[in-house]
Symmetry: C2
Subunit: 342 residues, 2 copies
């Protein structure tokens, strides 16, 4: 079962699970027999036609009682940071009450499923005393600076206690900023960290609203899915701390991203990036941690991408428009061939 | 307004506020005009007859809409650790939903009152990876090992965000184990840390279920009230971090408590302590932190009691039975005189 299963990461996760199966809790790898996608929207693309997918569309609370048992629950559903800050009650209802409803549902079934909860690096924020965040390690104290961060951190605590009491087999991972997201800007403060790669690859301009040397912690979509799946596949005894695990990230800057973009595309695509300043976005992005020492994740074999080039390549491979001609000439065509072969 | 205002700490706080007034947020000290006590039970003793006290007895959620505005809210109400562990739903309803109801009530009034939330050292517990707790400082990461600890820690997060958004002027303090509580054992795992002083002072036997050299972090009732009141009286700008503040505590052992008991009473009262072993209580008490470096509290002028003798003296002064004869001879009589003079 995947809540938020029609979203970008939910769809990626669904595709991965259907293709590769799951070695739940470190047991033998098994094919996924049935995948329940719970979301406000219906799944699109190949997932919509997949016979093993059952889609439950609409309000989650109303759908829960209709669901059959699940061996594994991936709870990704939630409203993003901007929306939770703009509408406090919406965020509380969706991110806090929603998580509690999923946990209560799992508890009521009585089968103690593996439950992977996706928290966020947004649990870390600049505290009211102005203390610098510095390098984040596995036992750094979160002091969220947004309602989204608070709601995710509360979700972590709920999941930890439902796990301690044996209601679920609890696994919480904190996602880093995912780049490159396909599609269109989503209004999140971090949206530009996808746009400045995505738009130039398609020959379109993109705005970078922060100084080019602003440090940011990124993960690619596939590396993010790696972390979510690894959480579900780690044996209970090996998972360790009840606290959320920070997923690995690469610390980079918009300037380094622009340079990598040019190297991967083989031309000066980064000329399409417009460098500007948005004080509001600067303040938000500046309150995020940018340097993580993810030792716990490393102990489970999870590592960040080697370079920002890998992040650009993954996007070009998976999402860049396929050239019209059969010659396949032009930037990233080899990567596109690989994508079509998957 | 005090939720849990008829309990032991709530009554102490009420008595203090009525006697001394309040310098709310560091402003001028004012007398308390009206004190709203919200609790399942009605206040007893002098508080029941105090004309400035208005008592709202029964279910808190049902009482909230009847309450007038309050300039300051002390949210002490909750179920104790043992009850929250034995009855998960009761703990969630009272400790989590109850705190949220108080916050929503304050938010709806729109007057941004000072809100002091009493959290607990129980937010700290032994993690599933067995990492030793060590010395706790102001930015130590809580990994609660009980549902009570989780619910209190979630309450801290809610209070922090309601504060950040300006719905309340937020102040969270973490209480240490309070000793000596008057009355009878309350079934909490820490109950013996009051019994081994309280009972021998009255000539009764008491059980110590842990090894005599078990380290514990204690605060006296009056020092605990000092911390709660100081939180309300600290200016917003001086409060600093949104994270809860650990109140000061004295690290001691049952053996040191027994020795202090004999010194203060002037005779071998500690012979009435029966030293035994209860593996279950040993495990719980052993999972608590016993050593705190409360620098933030010290910065606000809050310090632990100088010695365990002070804790014993405070109890003898405030609660030991008054001698029948007028001579006032016997242990602690000078302290009792002081108590009667208050």
């Amino acid at each position: 079962m995947i809540t938020g299963g029609a979203g970008f990461l939910g769809s990626l996760l669904a595709t991965r699970l259907l293709a590769e199966g799951l070695a739940l809790g470190g047991e033998e790898r098994r094919e996924v027999e049935e995948l329940l996608l719970v979301d406000l929207a219906a799944p699109r693309g190949p997932l919509a036609d997949e016979t093993r997918v059952r889609s439950f569309t609409g309000d989650m609370a109303e759908n829960l009682h209709r669901l059959p048992d699940a061996d594994a629950i991936f709870h990704l559903a939630g409203v993003v940071s901007g929306a939770a800050e703009a509408d406090f009650d919406l965020g509380m209802r969706t991110n806090l009450d929603g998580t509690r409803q999923v946990l209560e549902w799992a508890r009521a079934r009585g089968n103690a499923p593996v439950l992977v909860f996706t928290s966020s690096l947004a649990v870390f924020g600049t505290d009211a005393d102005g203390a610098p965040l510095g390098e984040i390690h596995d036992r750094s104290l979160p002091t969220p600076a947004s309602s989204y961060g608070i709601q995710k951190f509360i979700g972590e605590q709920l999941v930890a206690d439902y796990g301690r009491r044996g209601f679920v087999r609890a696994r919480t991972v904190r996602l880093m900023t995912v780049s490159v997201r396909p599609g269109v800007p989503n209004g999140a403060a971090s949206s530009f960290l996808s746009s400045i790669i995505r738009e130039p690859v398609s020959g379109q301009t993109a705005l970078c609203p922060v100084p080019s040397d602003t440090p940011v912690a990124l993960s690619s979509p596939q590396r993010t899915i790696d972390g979510i799946v690894r959480a579900a596949e780690t044996p209970d005894a090996k998972w360790g701390s009840r606290t959320a695990m920070n997923l690995p990230s690469l610390t980079t800057t918009p300037r380094a991203m622009a340079e990598a973009l040019d190297r991967v595309t083989g031309h000066d695509a980064s000329r399409l990036i417009e460098w500007s300043h948005d004080p509001q976005i600067e303040a938000i992005v500046g309150s995020w941690p940018s340097l993580f020492r993810a030792e716990r994740a490393a102990g489970l074999g999870l590592h960040p991408v080697d370079s920002i080039e890998d992040i650009v390549r993954e996007f070009v491979r998976d999402h860049a428009p396929v050239p019209d001609s059969d010659t396949g000439s032009g930037s990233g065509s080899a990567d596109q061939e690989a994508a079509r072969a998957r």
